[in-house]
Every structure is written in structure tokens, then in C-alpha cells.
């Protein structure tokens, strides 16, 4: 099935890699969601809520703009 991409792109995968190769499950546990949701956010299949987006940025010690970007097209 073709994936419907959201307008929000992110570099969570890179940040996970830089954070001691953190797994999706570890990140999911830290922010309180399922691994499938982290996978969907990473692949651009789901735009996270502001709460989840801030929780993710807090894990990596980054700002929202450093993790997420809005692609206007």
C-alpha cells in the first residue's frame, strides 16, 4: 500500500543513531507511545501531536525546529 506522507519531516532516525543508537522501542518508552507510532512518525506517515513532538525533542535535548520541519508544498 502506498504511503501518504505528511507535511512534517524530521530527523529522529539520525538523532536516535547519535544517541547511542537508541532503538525505536526505547524512544517509544521514554515518550509514552508505541514503537509503531515512532516508526510512523519517522517515516512521515503520522504527524505527532505537539505534546508528543515536545516530548521527543526533550529526549534528545533539542528544540522543536532542530527535530521537525514543515515542508510547504
Amino acid at each position: 500500500m502506498m504511503t501518504k506522507k505528511t507535511c512534517i519531516s524530521n530527523n529522529i532516525r539520525t538523532l536516535r543513531f547519535m544517541a547511542n543508537e537508541m532503538t525505536q522501542q526505547q524512544l517509544a518508552d521514554l515518550v509514552g507511545v508505541t514503537r509503531q507510532t515512532i516508526l510512523a512518525v519517522e517515516n512521515g506517515k503520522y504527524s505527532p501531536s505537539l505534546e508528543l513532538a515536545f516530548a521527543i525533542t526533550r529526549v534528545f535535548g533539542k528544540t522543536l525546529e532542530e527535530v521537525f520541519s514543515y515542508d510547504e508544498e
Binding site: M1, M2, K4, T34, Q36, T37, G44, L52
Partner: protein, 146 residues
């Protein structure tokens, strides 16, 4: 494939099979009946159809989660999060809209004088289509994204 997608596929397929089986059963059952008994027979059929859907949906979830648990997964302890609620919201919306539109068509068929048998047939399809619409939204939501 996610467990929730598997549940949605199994529920949709079992709902469709249940509809076909009960539809054939009902057609044979109502053929010799007339008058007020016919309306009651349709009522029984719709009740059997809806209760069957609910039971099959529950059984689909139990079956998939039991298989998943045996394979070393979390089974019924699998948590839900904001994405699940988001997809559920869309699925419920689809159910509501399909049910509303199909019910409207059923009512139009009734008032145009096509007979109340046609109305009941349309009502049965309303139940099926709204249910299938809901499960398809779940599948699209989890596999493709909404």
C-alpha cells in the same frame, strides 16, 4: 503487518462472510412469509446480523492477540496511544457517514414506493457497508497513514 491491521482485515472478511451467509439464510426464510410476520422476520435477521458482527469483531481481536501472545508479543497488554485514537476517530467518522448516507438511500427507497422489503434490504447493506468502511479506514490508517 501490525496486529491492529490484522484484526481489521480479519473482522472485515468475517463480517462479509457472515453477511453473505445470513443474507442467503434470510432470503430462503422470508420467501413464504407475508404481512406483519415478514416485518418481524426482517427484524430478527437484522438483529442476528448486527450481533454476529459484534461477536465476530470480538473473536477476531481475541484470536489475533492470542496468536501474538504465543509468538512472544504483549497480547492484550499492548497499549494504545494518540495515533490509535486518531485512527479510531477517523474510522468512527467513516462509519457514521456511510451509515447516514446508506440509511438515507434506504429511506428514499421506502418513500418512493419500492416497498418495505427493499427498505430492509437497503438497511442490511447499510449495516454491512458502514462496518466495512470502518475496518477499511483502520487498515488504511495503520498501513498507509491518514
Amino acid at each position: 503487518m501490525l496486529n491492529r491491521t490484522k484484526i481489521a482485515i480479519l473482522s472485515a472478511v468475517s463480517n462479509l462472510i457472515w453477511f453473505i451467509l445470513t443474507f442467503i439464510w434470510n432470503r430462503q426464510r422470508i420467501a413464504p412469509i407475508g404481512g406483519e410476520e415478514l416485518a418481524r422476520a426482517w427484524g430478527v435477521y437484522l438483529l442476528v446480523l448486527v450481533v454476529g458482527f459484534l461477536v465476530l469483531d470480538a473473536l477476531s481481536a481475541i484470536l489475533i492477540m492470542t496468536i501474538e501472545k504465543r509468538a512472544g508479543g504483549q497480547g492484550f497488554e499492548e497499549k494504545t496511544d494518540e495515533r490509535d485514537r486518531y485512527i479510531e476517530g477517523h474510522a468512527t467518522k467513516t462509519f457514521r457517514w456511510v451509515f447516514f448516507l446508506s440509511f438515507l438511500v434506504a429511506l428514499v427507497l421506502l418513500v418512493t414506493g419500492l416497498g418495505f422489503q427493499t427498505f430492509f434490504y437497503a438497511l442490511a447493506f447499510t449495516v454491512l457497508l458502514s462496518n466495512l468502511g470502518m475496518w477499511i479506514t483502520y487498515i488504511i490508517g495503520y498501513e498507509r497513514g491518514l
